[in-house]
Amino acid sequence: MPADRHAHDHGPGADHVHPVNFDPTAAEPDRHRAEPSAGRAFRLGIGGPVGSGKTALTAALCRALGAELRLAVVTNDIYTTEDADFLRRAGVLAPDRIEAVRTGCCPHTAIRDDITANLDAVDQLEQRFPGLELVIIESGGDNLTAVFSRGLVDAQIFVVDVAGGDKVPRKGGPGVTTADLLVINKVDLAELVGADMAVMVADAHRMRGALPVITQSLTRTPDAPEVADWVRGRVARVAA
């Protein structure tokens, strides 16, 4: 998306480009990319509202990518080890490849404002497993404004579900508008909750401009093939 070029009241010579677009409905890729440095794992953040399917997607990605990438997971759950336990029970990842971070009642603080606890968890995993290629960091369920700091992740996926209502994408917020990938999950439930998928997808694209949107149902496709492909692409881009 082009930067915000407009003429407002700056007097003569006002034809300039704003470094940041202040229009809340405008979407554009984050210009301030963290540089994933060679020699460390690619860090992928998975965020989104409570119950939208973040852990289910994390498990799906572990199943889909576990055989081809050396990976590990950090969970951020206010309910301590519940997510980690789910992943262990699902048998998709060895228990010592999962670190659970406690967020002091503030999941968004731990992924955005003060990323210390998460960085520590990533460090521990990288020390335990030299040569890690992918670390997935699942945020605790939070609101539509909770996005990951670029100091913590190289790319982030925001997961919403149709059960939250088809209004969610058009409400916007940094999660929907700026995440590298928006996943609309649980499309199998659309009919049951009266969510109009066409509206949801159209709104999502309108809010996000050129940024990608994937709709999926993890009950129908438990290995999240489209999202896994997207992740493969992102990891390969850095490795190249």
Partner: protein, 232 residues
Amino acid sequence: MTDPPSPAALILADSRFPGGGHVHSGGLEQAVSQGLVSGLDDLAGFLAGRLRTAGRLAAVFAAAAAHAAARRVRPAHWVALDAELDARTPTPAQRAASRAQGRGTARAALVAWPSPVLADLLAVTPRPHHAVLVGAVHGSTGGNAGQAALTTAYLAVSGPASAAVRLLGLDPFAVNAVLARLGPALTELAAEAARTAADRPADLPAPSSPALDLLAEAHDRHHQQEVRLFAS
């Protein structure tokens, strides 16, 4: 203390400082879950006790570290301070919490205030105790021992206080007033800690708080079994 506080002292004492402090409750979460703290009065007692024990210990070591940093001591001195504070922190859970916050603060400090002193300290203690690191940052940025003591003593109570607001839904104005009433005690304690800043590490005071030790261990055990929202 008559000097104006250094800007670094304000930044380090700010709850928005990104050093990982917000995930620690200093035993408050465990005290709440055991029914020891359920309202403002209990909280005031808990904080006053914490200030005079864990808070004083942290202040003493922060003051000593600030003094040491200002004189660019040899690495062996940092090792000695680290070992002496370890010896005064009897439970593994508290040592781990202190080192986690020290490491987090170091990560932020290396970006904000890189210095040869910090490099020396981290070369010999890569996961330093929180109080030592905070003291060293003060000392290497022109702050004095008393300021370092005041910052750490304040952090020893401000973290648990905000955890109480989150865990018990207490009125934030009332909790803030509880903190403010600790003002004279904080000032006195910081001045006292500054007086021992030049002592040999082994001679530094060793205030202890068995109740906080037990809470820290219980908290750590319960991590494995049930819901805990804070790392300590």
